[in-house]
């Protein structure tokens, strides 16, 4: 899938920086800034493959460093594969 770089990336970055600065400093975040941040983050929301399609093959290390792919992750009825932002922040 071609990666489209939005033209308003700099504007979004300013919103995200201000949001993070306020949160890290423990300053209140206005509802307006919160909404701007959520909207900037969720623009072009993409959800990937559709039901009925095959997901792309993948092999990734887990938290113990062991390589994992669908065949050694799935239970007998399947796998709930969760994509999330970060476990670090």
């Amino acid at each position: 899938m071609a990666l489209e770089i939005p033209a308003d990336l700099a504007e979004k970055a300013a919103i995200m920086r201000e949001f993070r600065r306020r949160r890290d400093a423990g300053e209140p975040v206005s509802e307006q800034l919160y909404a701007a941040h959520v909207n900037a983050t969720n623009d072009h929301y993409a959800t990937g493959p559709d039901p009925g399609q095959h997901i792309p093959d993948f092999t990734l290390p887990d938290q113990r460093g062991a390589l994992r792919s669908l065949s050694n992750l799935s239970g007998p009825n399947g796998l709930l594969l969760v994509f999330h932002r970060s476990a670090d922040w």
């Binding site: 899938m1 990666l3 489209e4 770089i5 939005p6 990336l9 700099a10 979004k12 970055a13 995200m16 920086r17 993070r20 959520v38 900037a40 983050t41 969720n42 623009d43 072009h44 929301y45 993409a46 959800t47 990937g48 493959p49 559709d50 039901p51 009925g52 399609q53 095959h54 997901i55 792309p56 093959d57 993948f58 990734l60 290390p61 887990d62 938290q63 113990r64 460093g65 994992r68 669908l70 065949s71 992750l73 799935s74 239970g75 007998p76 009825n77 399947g78 796998l79 709930l80 594969l81 969760v82 994509f83 999330h84 932002r85 970060s86 476990a87 670090d88 922040w89």
Partner: protein
């Protein structure tokens, strides 16, 4: 809960295995946390968040999506919510795929005339910002029906609304209704009879005060037989839900 239904869970993020190990140990997480360091798999799924400029800490994260994948790699269903602070719960997935709820999840029973309805949440507890499921089991005495959609006025279709400002999005999906010709009216209308089940979802606001809470809702319907049509009715109900305290991810740097 997933395990009992033959499912396993794995989570993907752009964190290093070391960060994931720290997180797993801190929170006692046993299931695999996968490290997609260069976001290659995230890009491969087409869910790379390209709103975040290079240089920002969040550059490389995906749009949050949860995929239920069959053992052969076929996507069965996907779950996503339009705000990164919201998450779908395992209990909603299990309710939708297997029809079962958490053992301690509350159920309320409503009755009016020929109709009995049991409504319950997928789980007794949730975190603020999560999406939980609910079900409604309808049973009608023989000869009676309620209405589905699309429905002309002035009839009232079966619907459920949760009138709670802490719910930011709700959805109720009854099964497809059966067309029935009503001879007395010379009309064909979508109806339900016998027993049927509708499923729904509730997206909880974030933030949301932790603790025990009651969530109130309304069931709307109109019950009719071949010879009698009752007026549209609304029954109020409430279900208990425990909101877990907010958990802050550790700062490891």
């Amino acid at each position: 809960m997933l395990e009992r239904n033959g499912l396993r869970i794995a989570a993907v993020s752009y964190d290093s295995p070391e960060v994931l190990q720290t997180f797993a140990e801190k929170h006692g997480i046993e299931f695999p946390l996968l490290s997609d360091r260069d976001s290659a798999v995230i890009r491969g799924f087409g869910i790379f968040n390209n709103n975040i400029a290079p240089g920002l800490r969040a550059h490389g994260v995906p749009h949050p999506v949860e995929y239920l994948v069959a053992p052969d790699g076929t996507l069965i269903r996907k779950y996503f919510v339009p705000n990164y602070q919201h998450r779908v719960t395992a209990s909603e997935v299990v309710l939708r795929e297997f029809g079962t709820t958490g053992e301690d999840a509350a159920v309320v029973s409503l009755r009016s005339g020929a109709l009995t309805v049991e409504i319950g949440f997928s789980s007794a507890r949730a975190f603020a910002g999560q999406e939980i499921g609910f079900f409604a089991n309808f049973t009608l005495e023989p000869g009676w029906h309620v209405y589905g959609r699309p429905l002309p006025t002035p009839y009232a279709a079966v619907s459920i609304d949760f009138d709670d400002s802490r719910i930011v999005r709700q959805l109720f999906e009854p099964p497809e209704a059966r067309p029935m010709k009503i001879d007395a009216l010379n009309e064909t209308l979508p109806v339900y009879s016998g027993s049927f089940r509708g499923l729904g979802s509730l997206l909880l606001k974030f933030p949301f005060e932790a603790g025990h809470t009651m969530v109130t809702g309304k069931l709307h319907f109109q019950q009719c037989s071949e010879t009698v049509c009752e007026a549209p009715e609304t029954l109020s109900f409430e279900l208990p839900l425990t909101i877990e305290p907010f958990m802050v991810a550790p700062r490891t740097k």
